[in-house]
Amino acid sequence: MDASLYNARRRRNGLVKVVSVSATLVGLAWLAIILGVLLWHGFSGLSVSVFTEMTPPPGAAGGLLNAIVGSLMMTSLAVVIGTPIGILAGTYMAEYGRHDKLTVVVRFINDILLSAPSIVVGLFIYEVMVRPLGHFSGISGAVVLAVLVVPVMVRTTEDLLRLVPDTLREAAASIGLPRSLMIRRVAYRAARAGIITGVLLSIARISGETAPLLFTALNNQFFSTNLNAPMASLPAVIFQFALSPYKDWQSLAWTGALMITLAVLALSITARSLTATRKSQ
């Protein structure tokens, strides 16, 4: 009687262990399969012309230069707009308003914005920028991405400023440093690695964004650095080319997908190693 119960418990435990190991293997296998397929399809199309030529009409040879430039321009502009707002808001929450009602509300809303569907943000910017201006433009694409950067920066800035020991703040205050200087000269410096991590993570987050760009920057088959006109971006080009029936377009889409994935993985691994060294110090 007891022995059978004992055996049943052991069997169940063994079964669960097997299931749990295989679940992990399945998860890891997906990562391996996705990366493997990307490398397989994307690598064959990777050549110098990808970086030097424009997106081609169907059937012709070409590259992704205009899309790469467009993505870089909109991403950097988005970081330039979104980062200061995010850092300042995070500063308020961690430094001035630690026990405020406002901080609690902003943190809650910000966490929701952090995982809110980006396509809705795209519609929002379409309503407030594209419709009044009357046309799609690179600048509205950059603003969409900036709106997506803000929550990431708010979150990381607040978290990391809270990790700065209060003794540092007290030391700065005791030599008569005004609060704003204390924050800028002492607290920011102590949290610097973390804030850089936040910037890297937000770039990783926006560099693959596609849906919101479709209604704001649209796409552009030609080379353009005019922020007031439709602008190409890697994700939008991948979307268009992958769904097309042309083989050369599909292969360019794979190459673009490989580039984005490698960039995103490199960014997140760098960000991770930055915080890892900070923790071990």
Partner: protein, 330 residues
């Protein structure tokens, strides 16, 4: 002594004006900086308000035209300008639910492996690898799903399922029809892969927060690993796990590009999971730039509003639950 003090005062006297100016500048800087940070914090709220108000205004014409019937009507005809959101809402909810049915057990088992079974040196690398899955942009899942996963399902998996369940009453309608490859089930499977890392990493974090004493006490009584997880860890972390699941659900509901590639964009409610369907986000992504006429655009923005309201509620519940467990752990 008095002389010296007097001399020092005399020396500093001409400086008093400059000193006051510097102090004044610092004080103004302080105030400006403080208000700048406060304004930025308020700006986060303004962004949320902006989203709701602008979508509300944009969706107004559609809601005026169709009323609440917009939410229940299945017709979607740009030519006759009849729009109803039932099919996309149905698709969104069904694909997300199936994705959660697959991803939640898988994620919990992985979290259990990482916290209870995994050898220590492997814990960090495996955890990071799973989290990297979360970093891969959704369009990558889309292109992979379209060119690799869907053909694979069409060729090998779907025919097998159709022939296996062909004679069983309920399952035969659920898995009916020709194997297209793309469709609701394919979209659900890809969504499951995409939300898996979120569920895994949050479950792992809350599992790790269980006080070791509790687990040690259970192990000391002779509990097996499974019994420790089932009777000690899970009850202790229930709220956090539910929060993580809701967070994953919020992601799945709003996921756009991966779904757009593989769902087939068909505006109908079909009983078969192999049939093409659509979701709210896929409809918007596919049709927005091609929408002619204000009513069409407005109907799409109305869909966006519906999506935002649904995800907002789900994410708000998720954050509330996670906040509660954070407070309890301290």
């Amino acid at each position: 002594m008095a002389d010296v003090a007097w001399q020092e005062q005399a020396l500093e006297l001409p400086d008093v004006g400059a000193r006051a100016r510097v102090l004044n500048k610092l004080r103004i800087n302080d105030i400006v900086f403080r208000y700048l940070t406060r304004a930025s914090a308020v700006f986060v709220l303004v962004m949320l308000g902006g989203v709701i108000v602008s979508l509300g205004i944009g969706a107004m014409p559609a809601f005026q035209e169709f009323g609440l019937g917009f939410l229940t009507s299945e017709s979607w005809n740009p030519v006759t300008e009849k729009f109803g959101a039932a099919a996309p809402i149905y698709g969104t909810i069904i694909t997300s639910s199936i994705a959660m049915l697959i991803a939640v057990p898988l994620g919990l088992f992985i979290a259990m492996f990482l916290t209870e079974l995994c050898p220590l040196p492997l814990r960090r690398p495996i955890g990071i690898a799973i989290e990297l899955l979360a970093g891969i942009p959704s369009i990558i899942y889309g292109i992979w799903g379209l060119f690799v996963f869907a053909p694979f399902l069409q060729q090998y998996v779907q025919p097998a399922i159709i022939s296996a369940f062909g004679n069983i009453p309920v399952l035969s309608t659920l898995f009916a029809g020709p194997p297209f490859g793309i469709g609701m089930l394919t979209a659900s499977l890809i969504l499951a892969i995409m939300v898996l890392p979120f569920i895994t990493s949050i479950s792992r974090d809350v599992f790790e927060a269980v006080p070791p004493v509790l687990k040690e006490a259970a192990y000391g009584l002779g509990c097996t690993t499974w019994e420790v997880v089932w009777y000690v860890v899970l009850p202790f972390t229930r709220i956090g796990v539910i929060g993580g699941v809701m967070l994953g659900l919020g992601r799945a509901l709003g996921e756009t590009m991966a779904v757009t590639f593989v769902i087939g964009n068909a505006h109908r409610i079909s009983s078969s999971l192999f049939a093409p369907g659509t979701t709210i986000s896929a409809t918007i992504a596919n049709e927005f730039t091609e929408a002619v006429g204000d009513l069409y655009t407005s109907a799409l923005i109305g869909l966006g509003l519906v999506l935002f309201v649904i995800t907002f509620i789900v994410l708000a519940i998720a954050r509330y639950l996670l906040l509660r467990i954070e407070r309890r752990i301290g």
